[in-house]
C-alpha cells in the first residue's frame, strides 16, 4: 500500500466516529420528533374534547332557556345535537382503544341528555311547567351533570398522564439510549483509532527507522551495508533510491580507488621506466658491440650475447607494458569492422598457434556492423586475451572466436565477441581478481594484460566478462557498442 493510501485510510478512520455520532443524532432527532408529534396529537385531542364538553353544556343551556320561556330554543336543540355529534365524532376518531370506553360513557350521557330533553319538552308543552322544571333539575343538575363531570375528570387525568408523562418518559428513554450509543461510539472510536494509528505508524515508522539506520551506517562509510526495501510504498521507493545511490557511490568509490591506484602506478612506472631503461640501454649497446667484436668462430659467446640482448628487449617490453597500462596514449576511436580487428589481433599468433597445437575457429558474420573503437587498443586487448588463452592451452586445444549482434544492458545495439579456449580453466575464487592490475598466476607475467584489455574495452563503452570452468576452459565475452549512424568518430587532434 502506498503512503498516500495509508494516510487516507488513517484520516478516514478518524472521520468514522464523527459520522456515527451524526447518524445517531439524526436518529434521536427523529425519535424525539415522533414523541413530540404524538404529544401534540394528544393535546389536540384534549382541545377537541373541550369543544365536546362545551357543546354539551350549550345543549343543557338550550333546555333551560326553553323552560324559562324562549320558544325558539326548542328548535335550536336539534342543532346543538348536531354540533355535539360533530365534535364527538372528531374526538373519538383519533382515540386510542383503551379510551373508547370513556367515549362510550360520554355518548351515554349525551343520549340521556337528549332523552331528558325530550321528556322535559313534552311536559312543558303539556303545560306542566313545574313538573318539567323539577324533572330537568333532577335529571340534568343532579344526575347527568355530575356524571359528566366525573367522566371529564377521568378524561383530563388520562390526557395529562398519557400525553405529557408518556412523552417525558419516552424522551428520557431516547436520551438514555443515545447516551449509551454515544459511549459505545466513543469506546469504538478509541479502540479503532488506537489500533489503526498503531498499525499505520508502525508501517510508516519502521521502514523509516530502518532507512535512517541504513543511512547512518552508509554515512559512516560502510557502503557495503545491505539495504533491503521491504515496503512497496513511497518509503520503499526512497529506500530503493538510496540503495541505488549507495551502489553507484560504491562503484564510483571503487573506480576512484582504481584510478588512484593507476595514478600511483603511473608515477611509479615513469620513474621505474627511466631508471631501468638507461642501464638497459647501456647493457644492450655493450652486448651488441661485444657480439660484433667477438673473435673466433661464431660460437658460444656470441650466443650468450644474443641472449643478453633478447632479455634486455624482453625487459623493455615489460616496461612498455607497464607504461601502456599506467599512461595510455590518447583514445582515438575509428569505425572498424570486427573481422579486421580479429584478423589484426590473430596476425601475430600464427606461429604460436602452431607451436601450441591449437586449432583455431573464427566465426564472424559478414553482415555484422562496424564498431567504433580505437583499433590499436582493441587489437592489443584481443592480443592480451588470446595470449592468455594460448598460455592456458600448453598441451593443445581449441580456440574459438565468435562474434554476433547483441543488444547491450542499456538497450544499445552492440556486438558480442566471445573468445573461448579449451584450456585448464580458472578457479572461481580468483575469477573476480583477474582484471586487477598486477594480479597474475604466472611467475613471468606482469599482471597487466587483462587489466589493459578490460580498460580498453570499457573506455569504448563496452563490457568485459570472464566465465570459466575448471577443466573445460575459459570464455571471455566482450560486448562493444555499434557505432550509431550519426555519431561520427570524434576527430582527435594529431599529436604533432
Amino acid at each position: 500500500m502506498t503512503l498516500q493510501r495509508k494516510l487516507l485510510l488513517g484520516f478516514s478512520l478518524m472521520v468514522v466516529p464523527a459520522l456515527l455520532v451524526g447518524v445517531q443524532a439524526i436518529r434521536t432527532n427523529g425519535l424525539v420528533r415522533g414523541t413530540l408529534e404524538s404529544l401534540g396529537e394528544r393535546l389536540a385531542r384534549s382541545r377537541t374534547y373541550a369543544e365536546v364538553e362545551d357543546a354539551m353544556f350549550n345543549q343543557t343551556q338550550v333546555i333551560w332557556r326553553y323552560l324559562s320561556g324562549d320558544p325558539a330554543a326548542k328548535k335550536e336543540f336539534p342543532l346543538t345535537e348536531q354540533v355535539v355529534a360533530f365534535w364527538l365524532d372528531r374526538w373519538t376518531a383519533g382515540l386510542p382503544p383503551d379510551e373508547l370506553k370513556l367515549a362510550d360513557g360520554v355518548r351515554g350521557i349525551e343520549k340521556d341528555i337528549r332523552a331528558v330533553a325530550g321528556r322535559v319538552f313534552k311536559l312543558h308543552d303539556a303545560g306542566r311547567h313545574d313538573a318539567a322544571a323539577v324533572l330537568a333539575r333532577q335529571e340534568l343538575v343532579e344526575r347527568l351533570q355530575p356524571a359528566l363531570a366525573e367522566v371529564n375528570r377521568e378524561i383530563y387525568r388520562r390526557a395529562r398522564e398519557f400525553s405529557v408523562q408518556a412523552a417525558f418518559v419516552q424522551v428520557a428513554g431516547i436520551v438514555d439510549a443515545e447516551r449509551r450509543v454515544l459511549w459505545g461510539i466513543v469506546a469504538l472510536a478509541l479502540a479503532a483509532g488506537l489500533l489503526a494509528s498503531w498499525l499505520i505508524s508502525r508501517s510508516l515508522a519502521r521502514p523509516l527507522n530502518e532507512l535512517r539506520h541504513a543511512m547512518a551506517v552508509v554515512g559512516a562509510g560502510d557502503l557495503d551495508h545491505a539495504i533491503e526495501p521491504r515496503s512497496s510504498d513511497e518509503i520503499g521507493e526512497l529506500a530503493r533510491a538510496f540503495a541505488q545511490m549507495t551502489e553507484r557511490l560504491r562503484q564510483s568509490r571503487a573506480q576512484l580507488v582504481q584510478s588512484e591506484k593507476l595514478a600511483s602506478i603511473g608515477q611509479m612506472a615513469a620513474g621505474v621506466a627511466h631508471g631501468l631503461r638507461n642501464p638497459l640501454a647501456s647493457l644492450r649497446a655493450a652486448a651488441q658491440l661485444a657480439q660484433r667484436r667477438v673473435e673466433g668462430p661464431a660460437g658460444a659467446a656470441r650466443e650468450q650475447l644474443n641472449a643478453i640482448i633478447e632479455q634486455v628487449d624482453r625487459l623493455d617490453q615489460r616496461i612498455a607494458h607497464l607504461l601502456t597500462f599506467s599512461r595510455p596514449a590518447p583514445f582515438r576511436p575509428l569505425l572498424e569492422s570486427v573481422q579486421t580487428l580479429v584478423d589484426g589481433a590473430l596476425s601475430g599468433f600464427a606461429e604460436l598457434l602452431r607451436q601450441h597445437r591449437v586449432e583455431l575457429g573464427v566465426t564472424v558474420p559478414p553482415t555484422l556492423r562496424e564498431i567504433r573503437v580505437d583499433p590499436m587498443r582493441l587489437e592489443q586487448a584481443l592480443t592480451e586475451i588470446i595470449s592468455n588463452a594460448l598460455d592456458a592451452m600448453s598441451n593443445g586445444g581449441r580456440l574459438e572466436i565468435a562474434a554476433q549482434s547483441q543488444i547491450g544492458d542499456g538497450g544499445a545495439d552492440g556486438v558480442l565477441l566471445e573468445i573461448a579456449d579449451s584450456g585448464s580453466g580458472i578457479p572461481a575464487e580468483i575469477l573476480p581478481n583477474l582484471c586487477e592490475p598486477f594480479f597474475t598466476t604466472r611467475p613471468e607475467g606482469t599482471g597487466l594484460g587483462l587489466a589493459i584489455a578490460k580498460r580498453y574495452v570499457e573506455e569504448t563503452g563496452g563490457r568485459l566478462d570472464i566465465a570459466s570452468r575448471i577443466g573445460h576452459g575459459t570464455t571471455v565475452r566482450i560486448w562493444l557498442p555499434i557505432a550509431s549512424g550519426d555519431a561520427a568518430p570524434t576527430p582527435v587532434r594529431s599529436l604533432v
Binding site: 631501468l276 631503461r277 638507461n278 647501456s282 651488441q288 599529436l495
Partner: protein, 171 residues
C-alpha cells in the same frame, strides 16, 4: 662515408662509449660528451654532421641543447634519445626541429641507420643551399629559387610504440 663526425651526448657512459665504438666500426668519427655544456664546447671544434642527444642530461637538458644548437646551426640533424616511455618529449623535440627521436634501449644498428640518413639529409641540404647560393650569384635574382621545405623531413613526427621499434622510421 669517411670523415663524417657524430657527437653523442649522454651521461650513460657505457651506452655512449658502445655507440661511439659501433659507429667508429662503421666509419664514423664519433665523440662523446657527458653533458650539454660539454657538448656545446665540443661543437665548435668538432663540427659534427650528426648529433645524438639524450633528452635528460645532468644540468642543461637535451631539449635546451637542441635549442642552443638551432641558434647557430639551423640544419644540423639532432636525434633525441630518451628513456621515458612518453612521447611528450618527442613531440616537443620534433617541433623544435629534431631530426628524429629514438627510445632507449636503442639498437645500435638502428642508431647507425639513423646517422646515415641524417648525414645524407644534411648533405642534400648543403647541396641545396650551395645551388641556391650559386643561382643567386649567377642570375642575380634572389627570388627565383623559393624556399621549400626540406625534402627528407619527418612529415608527421610520429613515434611508434616499442612493438614497432624495428620499423622505426618517419612515415
Amino acid at each position: 662515408m669517411s670523415g663524417s663526425t657524430v657527437l653523442i651526448v649522454d651521461d650513460e657512459q657505457t651506452l655512449a662509449r658502445s655507440a661511439k665504438a659501433f659507429l667508429a666500426d662503421h666509419g664514423y668519427e664519433a665523440e662523446v660528451a657527458a653533458s650539454g655544456e660539454k657538448a656545446l664546447e665540443l661543437l665548435e671544434r668538432l663540427q659534427p654532421d650528426v648529433v645524438f642527444a639524450d633528452v635528460r642530461l645532468p644540468g642543461m637538458s637535451g631539449i635546451d641543447l637542441l635549442k642552443r644548437i638551432r641558434e647557430f646551426d639551423p640544419v644540423l640533424p639532432v636525434i633525441m634519445l630518451t628513456a621515458y616511455g612518453s612521447i611528450e618529449g618527442a613531440v616537443e623535440a620534433v617541433k623544435l626541429g629534431a631530426f628524429d627521436y629514438v627510445k632507449k634501449p636503442v639498437d645500435l644498428e638502428e642508431l647507425k641507420l639513423l646517422a646515415d640518413r641524417a648525414r645524407e639529409n644534411r648533405l642534400l641540404k648543403q647541396e641545396l643551399s650551395y645551388y641556391r647560393r650559386r643561382a643567386t650569384r649567377d642570375v642575380g635574382f634572389a627570388t627565383m629559387v623559393g624556399e621549400s621545405p626540406p625534402s627528407v623531413r619527418c612529415s608527421s613526427g610520429r613515434v611508434r610504440s616499442p612493438l614497432w621499434r624495428t620499423r622505426h622510421r618517419c612515415c
